[in-house]
Amino acid sequence: MRTDWTIYVTFLGAGLIMLLPRNAKNLIRWVALLTGVIGLGIGLQNYIAYNGWVDANQPLKDGFWHLANVAWIPSLGVHYHLAVDGLNFPLVLLNGIVCVTGILFSWNIEERVKEFFAFFLTLIAGVYGVFMAMDLFLLFVFYELAIVPKYFIIAIWGSTRKEYGAMKLVLYSFIGSAAVFIGILAAFFAGGGQTFDILELARHPIAGQIQVWVFPLIFVGFAVLAGMWPFHTWAPTGHVAAPTAASMLLAGVVMKLGSYGCLRAAMLVFPSGLAHWQWWIAWLGVIGILYGAAVALVQKDFKFIIGYSSVSHMGFVLLGLATLNRDGMSGAILQMFSHGIVASLLFAVVGRMVYDRTHTRQLDELGGLAKTLPFACVTFVIGGAASMGMPGFSGFVAEVQVLIGAFKMSPWLAVAAALSIAVTAAYILNAIHKVFFGKDDEHHGTAEVHALPPITVPEIVAAVMLMAALVIIGLFPSVMLDMIQANVDIFLKGMP
C-alpha cells in the first residue's frame, strides 16, 4: 500500500471506533491499536522501499515520491497533492511510532474510551496528512484537523488546570494559524493566483520584497507550535495539563508539525525571505535552547521539567534549520525525529508510569521509586541519557550535527547552544536523583515502600519500542541520515 494510506487507514479506524458500542472498551482499544499498527506497518514497509533496501516499484522523481496529485478545487488552484521525501519520511515514521506507543500507554483510560481513541486517531490522521501534503491549502486543512481534537483530549482527559492549559494551547495555535492563513493567501496571490502547490510556488520564486514580509508570517505562525521562544509559553502548561498520551503527541508530533511547517511551507517557498530572517531565527532558537534548559533546572514539578526541556530541544531544531547548511539542516530533521521519541518516552514515564500510580508529580514528594518501579527508573535513565545527548542515542548524532552546522554559520551560536548540554545533564540527573533515589537515600531504608501497582505489559512493550528506536537511530543513523541529506542537498541547491 502507498504511504498515503496511513492517512486513510487511520481515519477509517477513527470512524470504525465511532460505530462501536460505548461499553466495548477492550474492543475499542484493540481496534485503535490495530489501526496504529497498520499505519506504522505501511510507513515502515514504504520506508524500506524508499531507501532502496528492497526493489521499489516506484522511482524517485526529483527526490520525491509523488503519491497523489489531483485537482481538488480547480477554481482556486488547490490540488490534492501528497508526496514523501527525505524531509518528511522520518516524521511519518515518527508519527506511526508515537501513535502505537501512545495507544499502549493509554490502555488504562476508563473514562469515555470511545471518544478518546476516536479523537486520538483523528489527530494522528491529521498529522500524517500535514507531513505528506505538498499543497499549502491542503496542508492547512490537515493542520487544523489536528488541532481541534487536541483541545478536547486535554480538556476532557487532562489533569492539572486542564481547561486553562487546553485553552491556552488552542488560542496560541489559532493565532499561529491565522498568521499562517494570511501568509498562505499572500503567497497564493503573489505567486500569480494560480496554485497553492508548494513545489510549483518554489519553482517560480515570488518577488524578494514580498517574500521578506510574507515569510515571517508563515514561519512564526508555525514556529508557535514548535515552541519557539518567546511564543513557547503554551508548551509547558499544555504538556502538564494533558493526559499522558496527549503529552506524548504534543511533544512527540505536534511540536514537529510546527517545525515541519516552518521548513516546508515557509522555508521552501520563500528562500529570499528566509535568507533575510535567517539570523533572527538562529538566535531565537539559541535563546529557546538556553532559556528552556535554565527554566527546566528550577522546576519542582516532574512534568514541567520535561515540558521545558522540550522547548530547549526544539530550539536545536530551529537553530539547525536556520543554519542553511547540510550538517545543520540534516541535524535539525534528525533532531525532530529524535526529540519526538525522547519526549514521548519521558512523558510516558512521568505521566503514565509515575503519576498514574503516585498521583503526585512534585519532586519533593517523590523519591525512592527505583526500588518500587525499577522499570520506570531504567526507562527514564535511558530516555534521560538520550535527552542529554549521550553518544549511542539518536539525540547525540542530531545535536552534534546541529552544532557543527551552527558553528559554520557563527561560532557564537554553537558555543551558546553547546552550553545547554551541561544544563540538560544537570536537570536530568537532578530529576533521576530526586524521583528515583532521593528520599530512599536520606531515610536509608525507612522510607515506606508504597505498594504501587506493577508496570503493565502494554507499558513495557511501548517503552521498549521507543527505546529501541532511540538506540537503532543512535547506532545506525545512516538509515535516516542518508535520505535526509539527499533532500537537504536538493533544498540547498534551490537556495538563491
Binding site: 535513565v381 541519557a385 553518544p391 549511542g392 550535527q401 557543527i404 561560532p411 540527573l429 541529506q485
Partner: protein, 519 residues
C-alpha cells in the same frame, strides 16, 4: 591481512549479549543471572586469550575490522589492537570477571548489578579497541553511566555525592574532548585515530587546521591564531583524559568515587577505568598532538611529578583504608604519566632507547597497576564485608586471626610498593631508568614519591595486620575459598610479570618504538 574470526567484535559484544540474557532472566533466578554474567565475561576472557596467542607485535594493527557505518559523517566501524592496547584488553577481560566474583554473594538488586557490570565491560573493551572517535566516544560514555549507578546504588554512606562528582567531572572532560574532535573533524573530515595520526606525522594536520582557521577568520572577520587554536584543541583533549587518569589537579573526584564504590566497582574503576585515561594519551594525545605535547612538556612533567609526590603524601595522611588505596592510585598513575611525558621531553633520535624504556615502563605500569590496585581494593572489600568499617585505627593485629588474609595483603602491598621479583618493580624500574637521563631533575624529585609510597604502604600493613588485636574482631573468619581464588589469580600475575615480564614487553615494544619515533 586475511580475514579471520572477528575477535574484537566478539570480545566486545559477548558481555553485551550476556547483559541481555541477565535482563531477560526471571527475577527469582538470581543464581542463573550470576552464572550467565560470569559465563559471558569468562567467554570474553578465553577469546582474548586466543587473540593474544595469535597476536604478532610487529604486524601493527591486528584483528582489524572495518565497515562503512555512517556515510554522512564518513564514519567507519573500525576496530583493531596493537601493542598499546592488547594488554589493556587482556586486563579488562581478566579483572572484570574477578570483580563480579567478588560480589557473588550479592543479594540486593542482583539483576541490575550484573546487567550494569556487563554493560560496563562492553564499554571498556570498546574503548581499548575502537579506532574511530565516533564509536570510541560511545564506549567511553558507556563506561561512565554504569559506573555512576554502581556507585549510586550499591555504594557506601556518601554514595550520592561521590557518584555525582564522578559523573560531572568525567562528563565535563568528555564535553571538552567532544568539542575538540568536532573541530578536528571540521578541519580534516575524519574521526579516524589512525588517519589523524598519520596526518599529524606528515604535517598535513597542521596545514588543515591552518586552512580551517583561515577559513573561519575569513568568513567571520576574526583573528584566530592557528597556534593558539591548536593549543586549545590540545588542552581540551588532554584535560578530558587527565581527569580520567587522573593527573593532579584533576584528581579530586577519585578518592570519593573509589571510597564510596562497592568493592567490584572500585576494582574495575582503579584497574581499568583509569587506564582508559592513560590509554587516551597513548592513542590520541601523543600521536595526534606530538608537537603540542613537546611544546608543553615541562608543565606536563610537573603535573605528573605533582601526582606522584602529592598523591603519595596524601595517601600517607589518610585514616581510611580505602581512601589510602585510592590516593595510592593517583601516585601510581603519576609514574605512568612520567614515563609517557618523558618520551616527549627531547626531540630527535638521541636517547631513543631511554625514551622507549620509559614508555615501555609506562605501558607495563598500566597493566601492573591494574593487577595490584584491583587486588588492594579487593582486600579492602574483604575486610570491610566483615567489619563494616574502613577506619585504619579500628584494625590491628589481624595477622593473628586471619593469617591468610595477612599473607595475601602483604604480597599485594609489596607488589604495589615495587618490590623486585613482583610486577610493580619492573614497570617502575623501566620508567625511572628511561626517564633519568632524559629528565634528570624531575626523576630525582620523583624518587621522593617512591620513598613515601613505601612508607604509607608499610604503615598501612602495620596498622591492619600487626600490633595488638582489636578485641572486637576476635571472631573474624579468614578468607573464604572464593575470596582466596580471586586473590590467587591476581597474585599469580604479580609473580609472573615480576619474574618474566618479557611477553608483555615484547607485545608492546614495536608500537612503543613507533610512538617514540614521532618525537
Amino acid at each position: 591481512m586475511k580475514p579471520g574470526l572477528p575477535y574484537l567484535s566478539l570480545i566486545t559484544f559477548l558481555p553485551l549479549a550476556g547483559s541481555l540474557v541477565v535482563l531477560l532472566l526471571p527475577k527469582t533466578q538470581e543464581r542463573a543471572m550470576k552464572v550467565a554474567a560470569l559465563g559471558a565475561s569468562v567467554a570474553s576472557l578465553l577469546l582474548t586469550f586466543c587473540a593474544w596467542t595469535r597476536f604478532v607485535p610487529s604486524a601493527g594493527m591486528m584483528f582489524v575490522e572495518r565497515h562503512s557505518w555512517i556515510t554522512a559523517l564518513h564514519v567507519d566501524y573500525y576496530v583493531g589492537v596493537d601493542g598499546l592496547s592488547i594488554a589493556m584488553v587482556f586486563l579488562t577481560a581478566l579483572v572484570t570477571p574477578l570483580a563480579m566474583l567478588a560480589h557473588w554473594k550479592l543479594k540486593d538488586n542482583v539483576k541490575l548489578f550484573f546487567f550494569l557490570f556487563l554493560l560496563l565491560q562492553t564499554g571498556m573493551f570498546g574503548v581499548f579497541t575502537a579506532l574511530n572517535f565516533f564509536h570510541w566516544f560511545i564506549y567511553w560514555e558507556l563506561g561512565l553511566i554504569p559506573m555512576f549507578f554502581l556507585i549510586k546504588i550499591w555504594g557506601h554512606e556518601n554514595r550520592t555525592y561521590a557518584s555525582f562528582k564522578f559523573f560531572i567531572y568525567t562528563l565535563a572532560g568528555s564535553i571538552g574532548m567532544l568539542v575538540a574532535f568536532g573541530f578536528l573533524w571540521m578541519a580534516t573530515g575524519t574521526f579516524d585515530f589512525v588517519e589523524l595520526r598519520s596526518l599529524a606525522a606528515n604535517g598535513d594536520l597542521a596545514k588543515k587546521i591552518a586552512v580551517f582557521v583561515g577559513d573561519v577568520n575569513g568568513r567571520f572577520g576574526w583573528h584566530w591564531n592557528v597556534t593558539t587554536f591548536t593549543s586549545v584543541l590540545f588542552w581540551a583533549t588532554l584535560v578530558g583524559f587527565a581527569i580520567k587518569v587522573p593527573i593532579w589537579p584533576f584528581h579530586t573526584w577519585l578518592p570519593d568515587a573509589h571510597t564510596q564504590a562497592p568493592t567490584g566497582g572500585s576494582m574495575v574503576l582503579a584497574a581499568i577505568l583509569l587506564k582508559m585515561g592513560v590509554y587516551g594519551f597513548l592513542r590520541v594525545v601523543l600521536p595526534i598532538f606530538p608537537s603540542q605535547v613537546a611544546a608543553h612538556v615541562d608543565i606536563l612533567l610537573l603535573l605528573a611529578l605533582a601526582s606522584i609526590v602529592l598523591g603519595a603524601f596524601a595517601a600517607l595522611a589518610q585514616t581510611d583504608f580505602k581512601r589510602l588505596v585510592a590516593y595510592s592510585s593517583v601516585n601510581h598513575m603519576g609514574y605512568a604519566m612520567l614515563g609517557i611525558f618523558a618520551t616527549a621531553a627531547t626531540a630527535g633520535p638521541e636517547m631513543l632507547n631511554e625514551k622507549a624504556a620509559a614508555l615501555n615502563g609506562a605501558v607495563l605500569q598500566m597493566f601492573n597497576h591494574g593487577i595490584s590496585s584491583a587486588a588492594l581494593f579487593f582486600m579492602v572489600g574483604v575486610i570491610y564485608d566483615r567489619t563494616h568499617t574502613r577506619a585504619l585505627a579500628e584494625y590491628g593485629g589481624l595477622r593473628k586471626i586471619m593469617p591468610i588474609y595477612a599473607g595475601v595483603l602483604g604480597i599485594t602491598m609489596f607488589s604495589s610498593l615495587g618490590l623486585p621479583g613482583l610486577n610493580g618493580f619492573v614497570g617502575e624500574f623501566l620508567i625511572f631508568k628511561g626517564a633519568f637521563p632524559v629528565v634528570t631533575t624531575v626523576t630525582v624529585v620523583a624518587t621522593i614519591g617512591l620513598v613515601v609510597t613505601a612508607v604509607f604502604l608499610l604503615q598501612m600493613m602495620q596498622k591492619v595486620c600487626f600490633g595488638p588485636l582489636n578485641e572486637k574482631w576476635q571472631w573474624l573468619p579468614d578468607m573464604t575459598a572464593c575470596e582466596l581464588f580471586i586473590g590467587a589469580v591476581l597474585m599469580l600475575f604479580m609473580f609472573l610479570i615480576g619474574i618474566y615480564p618479557a611477553p608483555l614487553l615484547d607485545a608492546a615494544n614495536d608500537a612503543v618504538l613507533a610512538l617514540v619515533r614521532l618525537f
